[in-house]
Amino acid sequence: MPASRSTRIVLFVYGLLIIALLYLPLVSVGFASVSRARYLSFPIRKYSTKWYTSALESSTVTDLFWTSLTVAAIVTVVSVVIAFFGALAFARYNWRYRTTFQKLILLPIFFPQTVLGLALLMWFNSLGIIPTWKTAVVAHLVWIAPIATLIVAIRAYSFDPALEEAARDMGANTGTILRLITLPLLLPGLVSAGLFAFLLSWGNFPLSLFTTGADSTLPEWLYAKMVSGYSPLVPTLGIMSVAGSFVIIMVALAVAWLMRANRESKAVQN
C-alpha cells in the first residue's frame, strides 16, 4: 500500500521541521558566540570574534581540550577492541550464555548516567582510588563499550558464517581466521563504532561530572558555568566543541570515501 502523494509531502515537511527544531538551539548558540556584548540579548547588534580569540589564548581552555581529547581517544581505542570481541559473542558464536550476555550489556545503556557516575565515585573511593581523568575513562567505557558492541554486532549479524567455516575446513586456525576473514568483514562496523565512541565520549558530561576529580572536561566546565551564571565564553566553547565533533565526522567520512574509491580502482585494475 504505497502512501499517497499528499501523505508523502506532509511527512517529508514534518521530517524537515523536526531536523530544523533539533538544530535551532545550536543556531542560537552560534549567534551568541559572535555577539560582542558581555550580556547577551537578541537581536544582536554588534558582532565580534573577540570571545574566540580570548578562548584560544586561555590556558584553561587548552587544558579542557586536551583532557577531553585524551579521554575520548583512549575510550575509542579500548571500546573498539572490546566491541570487536563482544560483537562476535553477541551475534556470531552460538554459546550457552549468549542471550544472558546480550541482556547484560544492555543494562548500562538503560541506566541513568548521573547515578552511574555517582556509584562509580563511591566505588573508586572505597577502593582508595583518587578520581582523575583516568577514572573518567573507566566511567565512559561502562556506557560506551556496550554501545560500540551493539554497532559492531549489527555488522556481525549480516555476514555469512560459512566464510569462516570454509577457512577452518581449509586448515586455518582461529587467529588466522580472525585476522584474515572476520576483521576485514567487520571493519566498516568497527570504524563506525570508533566514531560513535569518540563522539559520545567527547560530548559526555553526566559521567564525567563525578568521575574526573580535580580534572575537568569541556562539557563539564560548560555545565558548571551554565548552572552558576552566564559567561560569554560558554557559547564560544560550545561552538568550538561542536566544531571539533564536526571535523572528526568529516575526516571519518573522507577516509571512508577514500577507502571505497581505492577498493573500486583496485577492482577495476583486476
Binding site: F12, I19, S126
Partner: protein
C-alpha cells in the same frame, strides 16, 4: 564446529563482561551496601540501620521521585505521538531521505546535551532568539516559557527524541507491507490498520523505544537544572545534592537504590520480552 563456537563465544565475551563486572556490577553493590549505613558516614564498616530509607519518606524526597517519574511518563507519551509519523516515514515512505534524516538526528546526539539545552535557553529566554526578534520587528512581547514544568518536559522530549525514533522506525520496518495491503483490500479503515496491524506488529520497537526514553528521562538531571531552573527538583538532582553539598552518602545511595530498583525492574521486564536477534536482523 559446535564446540569451537562455544569456547570462542565465552572467550570473546570476556573483555566486556570483565569491564561490566568491575565497573558496573561492583559499584551497584557498593551503592546497595552504602544505602543501609547510618547517616553521614563515609565507610562501609558501620552497623546497618536503614535510616536513610526512612528519610526518603519523612523529608518529602518521594515528591521529587514522583515528579521525575511523572515528567518521564509525560515525555514518553508525547514522544510516541511525535515520533510515530516520522518513524513510519523513515521505515516505509522516505527512501533516500531516511538516510539524511538518520544522519541529521545522529549528528545532533554528538553535541553535548547541555550545550543543546543551553541553546534552548538562549532561544526561549526574554530577549532571546525568538522573543528578542519578535519584539524588535513587531513590538509584540511575551513572557519567557522557561523555568516551569512544561519546559522541562519539552527538554526531555527534545533530548530523548532519537532514543524513541530509531527503535520505533526499526519496529515499523518489521511490519510486512503485504499484511497492511491485505487488510486494506479487505476493507479495513486506516484506524483499524493502525490499531490491529501496525501497533501489534511493531510492538518490540514500541517497547524498546518507550522503555529507553522513560528510563533515561526518569534519571535526567540537566533538563530540570538548565531549563527548569529549580521549578521542580528532579530525583537525580536530589541524589546529586545528597552526595555533594549534603555530604550524606547513605542518603544519596538510598535515593539511588530506589530509582535503580524502579528502572531496573522496568528494563528487565522490557528486555526479557524482546528478541534482540530478530530486531537486529540475525539471519539464522
Amino acid at each position: 564446529m559446535e564446540r569451537t563456537d562455544r569456547k570462542l563465544g565465552l572467550l570473546s565475551a570476556l573483555p566486556l563482561t570483565a569491564v561490566l563486572l568491575l565497573a558496573f556490577v561492583a559499584p551497584m553493590v557498593v551503592v546497595a551496601i552504602f544505602s543501609v549505613m547510618p547517616q553521614k558516614v563515609f565507610s562501609l564498616t558501620h552497623t546497618p540501620d536503614f535510616s536513610a530509607y526512612a528519610v526518603f519518606f519523612d523529608q518529602g524526597y518521594y515528591r521529587s521521585l514522583l515528579w521525575s517519574l511523572g515528567m518521564a511518563l509525560a515525555s514518553t507519551a508525547i514522544l510516541l505521538v511525535i515520533c510515530w509519523p516520522l518513524a513510519y516515514g523513515m521505515a516505509k515512505v522516505f527512501g533516500r531521505f531516511t538516510l539524511v534524516l538518520t544522519i541529521a538526528v545522529v549528528m545532533s546526539l554528538f553535541v553535548s546535551e547541555n550545550i543543546r539545552l543551553f541553546g534552548w535557553v538562549l532561544t526561549l529566554m526574554k530577549g532571546g532568539l525568538i522573543e528578542g526578534h519578535l519584539r524588535a520587528w513587531t513590538g509584540i512581547s511575551f513572557d519567557s516559557p522557561l523555568y516551569g514544568v512544561p519546559v522541562i518536559v519539552f527538554g526531555l522530549v527534545y533530548v530523548y527524541l532519537p532514543f524513541m525514533l530509531f527503535p520505533l522506525a526499526q519496529g515499523i520496518a518489521m511490519v510486512p507491507d503485504d499484511t497492511r495491503q491485505a487488510a486494506a483490500d479487505l476493507g479495513a479503515t486506516r484506524w483499524q490498520i493502525l490499531t490491529k496491524i501496525d501497533i501489534p506488529l511493531a510492538a518490540p520497537g514500541i517497547v524498546v523505544g518507550s522503555l529507553l526514553s522513560f528510563v533515561l528521562a526518569a534519571g535526567a538531571l540537566a533538563e530540570s537544572k538548565i531549563l527548569g531552573g529549580q521549578a521542580v527538583i528532579a530525583i537525580a538532582d536530589d541524589i546529586e545534592t545528597a552526595f555533594t553539598f549534603g555530604q550524606n552518602w547513605p542518603l544519596g545511595s538510598a535515593l539511588s537504590m530506589i530509582l535503580i530498583v524502579i528502572i531496573g525492574a522496568l528494563a528487565l521486564f522490557g528486555v526479557s520480552r524482546v528478541d534482540l536477534d530478530a530486531i537486529m536482523g540475525r539471519k539464522r
